[in-house]
Symmetry: C2
Subunit: 150 residues, 2 copies
């Protein structure tokens, strides 16, 4: 193969968009960790709590959908949050299949402690307000396009 064969350049790590996205996502979770440790939460548990802080109660199915998580992941996460006393898990009255999650008082108290986190993380990332907006738009656009494919 000739030295100036560039047909494999698309396989170079530096030419991938997916890699920095993947690495950035992991690094973000790592940055959250020390803050969340004070709340006794992991990142995944945190995003579950965010939904509950906003809605007080939600079905397991809706949660799985809006967080893009499947039950294999969600079930043990919800059990741990239940065990920690941050939420309750009950079957829906009208449909025994459905699981209804409800925020507890202990869970609600975390909300105040969590208030400072988003700004701290934003500072870590060091992007301008405009850049944050662009990043938000592009990731949501890609996400939407990809979920349409399946």
């Amino acid at each position: 193969m000739a030295k100036n064969d560039h047909s494999y350049d698309i396989l170079k790590l530096d030419n991938q968009v997916c890699f920095p996205l993947y690495a950035c996502s992991k690094e973000l979770v790592r940055q959250y960790t020390p803050y969340l440790k004070e709340l006794n939460l992991t990142y995944t548990q945190y995003i579950v709590m965010m939904v509950l802080w906003e809605r007080e109660t939600v079905s397991s199915r809706e949660l799985a959908e809006c967080l893009h998580l499947d039950y294999g992941t969600l079930t043990p996460v919800l059990k741990r949050l239940d065990q920690a006393g941050y939420l309750t898990r009950e079957r829906a009255e009208n449909d025994e299949r459905q699981l209804t999650l409800t925020l507890t008082e202990t869970g609600r108290e975390l909300k105040d402690k969590a208030k400072a986190i988003p700004e701290a993380i934003a500072k870590c990332m060091g992007l301008t307000m405009e850049e944050f907006g662009v990043l938000y738009t592009l990731t949501y656009k890609a996400l939407k396009n990809m979920e349409e494919k399946q």
Copy 2:
């Protein structure tokens, strides 16, 4: 608490930049999966192979650094790639601590099969060339800023 208290809005899932980034990253890995399955690779194994396809040989330490992975993750991944016959693991001559990874012929053969993947994934994401460029720049910028914090 008054209904028009917006001080918690920063905790709404829809107002987070981190969440779509996290969800998008996971969705991306999911999109790769069927393509990589044909090469008998996971996404993490794939990015290891990308480095080897470009460099033929690399030390474990360099790999960990450029992929932003620690040894707890990397060690078992490398063992599996070794077992699959895609690379060899040898101690460096001059320093018994260091692990040197070398691409095998079998590993090199995968490169051709992998060639079509980046374009297929790009199509899934459905962004324009310009948008890909912006996404690349912003994620690398955030990544660089965050790793400076630690």
